[in-house]
């Protein structure tokens, strides 16, 4: 866990301008990785009943819906 924190620090010092947005992708991938570790092991989701896992999936899914569908409005406005 602590070592993942270190990778974040490392990823941050790098100048990730090989292509636009790589920085964000790296940072968020590490965050997602860390979060899933916490959920799966610290919170024992891996060993929980199916319905608990369903709750987790549902909340992430709904969050994704909100972000994705709202941004889909903003990002396609210029297309017409």
């Amino acid at each position: 866990m602590i070592c993942t924190a270190l990778t974040v620090a490392a990823a941050e010092v790098d100048l990730n301008q090989y292509f636009a947005g790589l920085n964000i992708i790296v940072a968020l991938t590490i965050a997602v990785f860390k979060a899933s570790c916490v959920v799966l092991f610290f919170m024992h989701a891996k060993y929980s009943p199916g319905r608990t896992q369903l709750v987790i999936v549902a909340s992430v899914f709904w969050l994704a819906i909100m972000l994705f569908m709202t941004m889909s409005d903003y990002l396609t406005r210029r297309w017409i």
Binding site: M1, I2, A5, F42, M43, W62, L63, L75
Partner: protein, 217 residues
């Protein structure tokens, strides 16, 4: 409803009671996900609208403090996980030790957060209150930077509020654990508060890259 030992009257078995409480906690956390979700949504949109201003503004936050805090919080999650283990394994002596360690780490986090907030106060970066941002005196940029800091304070503030609530719950847990209330058969509060604490940790795991890291070079 009557209560016999740790079993409340509406349940038939301790097992049922434990499952119920755990499911309830998870559902509460899914509500929390969407509660923070509104803020993340606001953040995402504004970041995509004003990427340059946001990256400029994020550079003024001290990265070292954020990174230390990340480590501190993950460590506290670890001690919390150990507390849950201790309560399940019946290590009555160890449980309060881990809980106190978690509490101390939590307080360190809040302390560092306080230092950061103080920095912002000194730099006039608190939105709506003498706000000014040096690099450019441009009206629009100023407004957009203020937007960044509004989100910064909104998101970290709400997170810190959750931490404070969590700390309160930990104090109660420590008190009860010293009385030896938690046994391998009955440890639901430790487990549920543990879940809550990990959730708060996860929120921070996302806040850290979003507010401190992206486009900082």
């Amino acid at each position: 409803m009557h209560r016999t030992g740790e079993l409340f009257g509406q349940y038939k078995t301790l097992e049922q009671q434990r499952e119920t409480a755990s499911l309830g906690m998870w559902i509460f956390l899914s509500t929390e996900v969407l509660f923070f979700g509104g803020l993340f949504m606001t953040y995402t949109l504004n970041r995509s609208t004003y990427p340059d201003v946001f990256s400029e503004a994020s550079k003024t936050i001290r990265l070292s403090l954020g990174a230390i805090n990340t480590v501190v919080l993950i460590a506290s999650s670890l001690t919390m996980a150990l507390s849950v283990w201790a309560s399940q394994a019946g290590k009555k002596k160890l449980l309060p030790v881990f809980l106190i360690a978690t509490l101390i780490l939590g307080c360190v986090f809040l302390g560092i957060k306080g230092v950061e907030y103080h920095d912002k106060y000194v730099e006039h970066h608190i939105p709506g209150w003498n706000f000014s941002f040096e690099p450019s005196s441009d009206v629009a940029t100023n407004a957009h930077t203020q937007l960044f800091f509004s989100l910064y304070f909104g998101m970290t503030g709400l997170h810190a509020l959750h931490m404070i609530v969590g700390a309160g719950l930990l104090i109660w847990l420590i008190k009860e654990s010293l009385r030896g209330r938690f046994t391998p058969e009955y440890n639901t509060p430790v487990e549920n508060i543990g879940l809550y604490w990990h959730f708060v940790d996860i929120v921070w795991i996302f806040l850290f890259p979003l507010l401190y890291l992206i486009d900082r070079h």
